[in-house]
Symmetry: C2
């Protein structure tokens, strides 16, 4: 196993310590239980947004904690759901008496543990709502999921709901906006080579030199098909076609296009793929109004990419453009 680590059992906490010193202006880190919290939390009178999930998808979620996005993230062990007490602690740390929205990716363990935490918080008289994102069109049920998996759309959801909360919207509004994102976002990914989970020590799956996995999950779980490796034009066409026909996105629709690296795919390839996706969407009459390109929801060092489309309207566009100050996304005044 080729990794820059000391011990598989301390990877997450050691990584959080590095993050804490790197971004002390934006976040603080709690070690027991593991949390990444916005530096100035709780913000009185602001709806708080909490997300989390297994580690190994960095910068998701801890890299999105800060002004205009998440109030707290709960990092589980690598590819393992956070515990209910972690989520409960996060809720307590960020509750500003305006309610808390939990953003949960649709994996069985995550859904269950966030639900338990929400019940515990409700017993403490904190108003908690939950949205579950399930944007991956690749498969209906999967290894860790009843229903579709939550993938790249999560990044867009956290940015947009975070912006709504930041500008003072109430819990009903933030929840409505989050639900609108979920209704209009779809994703699919593919991989060329597997990641290695530190405490496992072996690649999560084997792909031959000439093979790729289309529709793969962010834990390296199987997708739609294993097939011979194709050129970038054909790969991107497969992803665009699957995503566009699912909602469907139609000619004249305005969208945000998010081209994501699974971790090990470098920017030179990612921009190349992004350019192809733009062209294929233009061919279909779909209007790309905003873009995000980079490694934002990864699977350790897995080589591969995903495409996410979000249908935009004026409200979502304005919230996307609003200032954000987090370790991984930063723009605006």
């Amino acid at each position: 196993m080729k990794k820059i680590i000391n011990d598989p059992s301390t990877v997450v906490v050691e990584s959080l310590r590095g993050m804490a010193v790197a971004h002390a202006d934006l976040i603080r880190v709690v070690e027991e239980p593991a949390l990444v919290v916005r530096a100035d939390a709780p913000v009185a009178g602001k709806v708080a947004i909490v997300s989390g999930g297994g580690s190994g998808h960095e910068p998701l979620h801890g890299g999105f904690v800060g002004r205009g996005m998440l109030d707290a993230a709960c990092p589980g062990a690598v590819f393992t759901s956070p515990t209910p007490d972690q989520v409960q602690a996060a809720i307590e740390q960020v509750d500003g008496a305006a309610g808390v929205l939990l953003v949960v990716k649709n994996y069985t363990g995550d859904v269950l543990n966030f639900e338990t935490a929400a019940e515990l918080a409700a017993a403490d008289e904190i108003e908690v709502r939950t949205v579950v994102i399930d944007d991956d069109v690749a498969v209906k049920d999967s290894l860790y999921t009843a229903g579709r998996r939550g993938v790249g759309g999560t990044v867009l959801l956290e940015k947009i709901a975070g912006a709504a909360a930041e500008r003072g919207s109430d819990l009903d509004t933030v929840e409505r906006v989050a639900s609108k994102v979920i209704a209009g976002v779809r994703s699919m990914g593919m991989a060329l080579a597997a990641p290695t989970v530190p405490h496992v020590g072996e690649p999560s799956f084997d792909l031959d030199d000439g093979e790729m996995e289309v529709g793969i999950g962010i834990h390296g779980e199987p997708g739609r098909a294993r097939m011979p490796l194709e050129g970038a034009d054909a790969i991107v066409e497969r992803l665009v076609e699957a995503v566009v026909t699912d909602l469907p996105y139609q000619s004249g629709d305005r969208v945000l296009l998010f081209t994501n690296s699974m971790g090990g795919t470098p920017l030179i390839e990612l921009y190349l793929a992004h350019g192809i996706a733009e062209r294929l969407l233009a061919d279909r009459g779909i209007v790309v109004q905003r873009r995000l390109v980079g490694p934002f929801i990864t699977s350790l060092e897995m080589q591969g990419m995903s495409l996410t489309l979000l249908k935009l309207d004026d409200e979502l566009l304005e919230l996307w453009d609003a200032p954000v100050h987090t370790p991984a996304l930063r723009w605006g005044g």
Copy 2:
């Protein structure tokens, strides 16, 4: 070869096309010869800053074009110097009649081709100065270099010189600030696994499962030593010790610490390494005042990392903090 590409011969231009649509608010792309140019260039009365080098190190240099950093970047073929006519074209596109500073990484081909371009520009009566960065402490001469190689310090140099130019400093001042960065910046890197150059199709070198290369260059060229893979504490200590003792950086010095991924090393490992580096510097009494953590100067999908230290004073600190708006670095108003 596992890559998301169509054809090795069109990787760079196809990638630039994707970049152009992704960041049309910040940059424009010229295809013949290949250039990435600041969207509003030339800026009249501003010193222009031009850099470039082989592709495959993204986001360096094209991702650093924009307000507060570079005016233009010249992307060569993968791991291949840009041509003199590329550099000359860049100079002509961005010259705002206040002079042009060329930022050149110390590789024989780069130095030669930028020098030829500078002579051509001088014949056109454009005032051109050149700074050559050679911050890699790993080896004295190397495969592509007489003297030390230019590596991670380049990112810091481009940010700081770019800020000086943006606030209206004259060419003498921008050159002086650039020279101060070069005098105070040192780097070293290591790798766990090799990159594959698209037109070569095979990994640039072989490392056994239990091996690492310490002091590696950003083209995968050999470093100081090939040795058994160690834990993160030992790896980071090797890099810190080599960098700190070179300048040397001493107790009480104020520094910027840049922890860089070579491309294939994911953020979870990078933050872990960064935390160790912070601790080791604190042990030596060196005061880390600013940080940069991420994949900013890469070697395609090479797994590995580098550490860069820059000695700070008030002038450099203020220039580092100044606003920057580029595809890969963005902060401030």
